[in-house]
């Protein structure tokens, strides 16, 4: 249970302290002002190290993350009186390679900031390195809260919805359905991982409190390829809303096996599995209706979304009916957070950035939020958007927004024979 009054007063204190510190440091340093509106003399270079999974198991998302970072760096270049150099390497979806790459980049460069890769596996590897070096680290694409709470993070900040936000978003999604038609039986397929358990706990607690019945909660191993037993158990328990956090291959297999066994729930939310475009390329129309919580989804408005769309279309182009891929927005939001942190700190000094990250509010394409000391987005700040696959694209269905790509929540999932 969080004491919101205490949390609020602590944040107010931090904000004051941060502002005072920033002013003090600015006054002392004088020569490291990087905010916009300077006299245009680009004498500074801000160096950012990043790794992205261009190859390996997360490679289908790596290209989009890279696009988001590149668009974000272009934006930073426009906004700052400094050159921004992004040194980005392929981490091969391997946490050891993340560490090796970051070691090599930071050994050869004066790195001011590190950006995370993709997934808990890779982001936490980068974060661990940044923590050991005392370099500010900003990473999206991991919802796992426990590392923030248990690892004593000082330099890691995650502008991304976390497990509790995903659970709240799921409740909001279900409440879009008229009460008389709303499913009541929830099934949880829990991968036997730390995040799998954490997310299942949040779902169970949040949805039980809201009056739903969790009729099934069964574990499975990450890497499991046979979901036939879970499907039979779900059918037997009359699961109407199925929630899980499988890997993309696992989620794709599960849907294929649901089809083969002629069963599907009324609502399907596979967080992370349904994030990549590989979902649609592997499943086609069979992948429709699946929901996910990828951090950013086409349809959101405000926070620079319009600028991002324009920049994306100008840089990469979009075919008719094509929407921006979700990791682009998540990565762009990392750059926006960094930009605002640097502007707020008026410096790239690690301590000043840390203070600013802890005390300032940020407005990005995913929403407006502050950070807790442990790098979590402040509780309640972010409304995690839920996306849904429909006609080959991911669309925002929750919250109920009207931006480009937003659609009404498609419910219920029809039987396979009617699709």
């Amino acid at each position: 249970m969080v004491d919101s009054d205490r949390s609020q007063s602590r944040r107010t204190y931090l904000k004051t302290l941060g502002a005072a510190g920033t002013v003090g440091m600015s006054g002392l340093a004088g020569c490291t002002l990087l905010g916009s509106g300077g006299d245009g003399d680009s004498s500074e270079t801000i160096t950012i190290a990043a790794t992205v999974p261009e190859t390996g198991q997360f490679s289908s998302l790596g290209a989009a993350v890279k696009q988001g970072y590149e668009l974000g760096v272009a934006r930073m270049d426009e906004q700052l009186d400094a050159d921004v150099e992004l040194i980005m390497q392929d981490d091969e979806s391997d946490p050891e390679v993340v560490r090796q790459n970051l070691t090599q980049i930071t050994s050869n460069n004066e790195v001011d900031m590190i950006w995370g890769s993709f997934s808990s596996l890779l982001v936490t590897a980068g974060s661990a390195y940044a923590e050991s070096q005392g370099i500010p680290f900003i990473g999206a694409f991991f919802a796992y809260e426990a590392p923030h709470r248990n690892s004593g993070y000082e330099w890691t900040y995650s502008p991304f919805p976390k497990s509790r936000d995903v659970a709240r978003s799921t409740r909001g999604l279900l409440e879009l359905i008229p009460e008389a038609e709303r499913p009541t039986n929830v099934g949880l397929w829990e991968p036997n991982s730390g995040w799998g358990e954490e997310q299942a706990d949040y779902w169970e607690e949040t949805l039980t409190d809201a009056g739903y019945d969790v009729v099934l909660r069964e574990t499975f191993s990450l890497g499991n390829q046979d979901f036939a037993t879970l499907i039979s158990q779900s059918e037997s328990a009359n699961v109407e809303a199925l929630l899980s956090t499988p890997t993309p291959p696992g989620g794709i297999t599960a849907v294929n096996q649901m089809q083969a066994n002629n069963w599907s729930p009324d609502v399907l939310k596979f967080v992370r599995a349904a994030d990549p475009t590989a979902w649609w390329s592997a499943l086609g129309d069979s992948g429709a209706y699946a929901c996910m919580c990828p951090g950013w989804v086409p349809g959101l408005t405000g926070g620079g979304n319009q600028a991002m769309w324009s920049a994306y279309e100008s840089e990469y182009g979009l075919d008719d009916g094509e929407l921006i891929r979700t990791p682009v927005g998540g990565a762009y939001n990392v750059a926006q957070t960094s930009l605002q942190a640097i502007q707020g700190a008026e410096s790239t000094d690690a301590g000043a950035l840390q203070e600013t990250l802890r005390s300032q509010d940020f407005e990005t394409v995913i929403g407006t939020f502050g950070f807790e000391d442990n790098g979590l987005p402040a509780e309640g700040d972010l409304t995690a958007p839920t996306g849904q696959w429909w006609e080959g694209n991911q669309h925002t269905v929750y919250p109920d927004v009207d931006g480009r790509g937003a659609i009404d929540f498609q419910y219920p999932i029809p039987a396979w024979s009617e699709r």
């Binding site: 390996g56 289908s60 574990t219 499975f220 191993s221 499991n224 046979d226 879970l230 291959p249 083969a260």
Partner: protein, 293 residues
Amino acid sequence: MVTTDLLVQSLLNGLLLGGIYAVAALGLSLVFGIMDIVNLAHGHMLMVGAYVAIILFTSLGLTPIVGMVVAFAVLFVLGMALQRFVLERVVGEGMEQPIIVLFGLALMLQSIGRLAFGGNAQATDIGIPGDAIAIGAATLSFSRVVTFVLSVALILGTWAFLKYTTTGLAIRATAQNSSAAQYMGIDTDNIYVLTLGIGTGLAGAAGALLSMLFPITPFVGWSYLLKAFAVVVLGGVGSVAGTLVGGLILGVSENVGVLYLGGGFRDIISFGIFVLVLLVRPHGLFGSSGGGE
């Protein structure tokens, strides 16, 4: 709560899955039983077979059943070439040389797969329209039934080949006593080439079948190698019947065990059986020190 319906469903799912476990293990069992070579690249050859089927499916729209035949042929040739041009030259240098060569080959195949196909999972589809098959309260997917039937056909075909053909007789003779077989005029070098061809061909066919049920990535090789090992140890090295029974036992144990213990126990069940059989009956249920049937 585990109801009778759920139990029957899991039992049937386990049997269907066990068939494909058996065919995935058959090639490993034959090569081990007849040639005394532990093919550490077996799982990766299975992965190659799966990609052959996937390429034919995605590029030419060919059914994975055709893919299975082509995968068998491709891997058959690859296996024969491997024996003729690589393994033949290192056999006799010690037990470890073939193992090192095959381990290296496994790593090579995985890397080539990663370069060629990336990390994305891919699969094929049997493409049979209509609902799943209902048997009482149980529902069986068409693709599982089809792969089971094809798996059993492959196993029976292999058994018949070894039992009723002259070449099969020569293979069995070579397995029992290669020196005596040579004295009887059997070209054992060619028999070994053929045997590795058949073993890897079966791996390829199994891969094509697996692509109908499970997603394939370049990284699946090791996990199928371990499953195949468990089946071989369970059924007995070199025994075709033992491989089938071992596969079925493994499939059923996994599915029913998971029902009672939870999905996190799947691998514990598989490898628990593996270790238990090694301790209690190291030559397996049908195995003998004599090798092939």
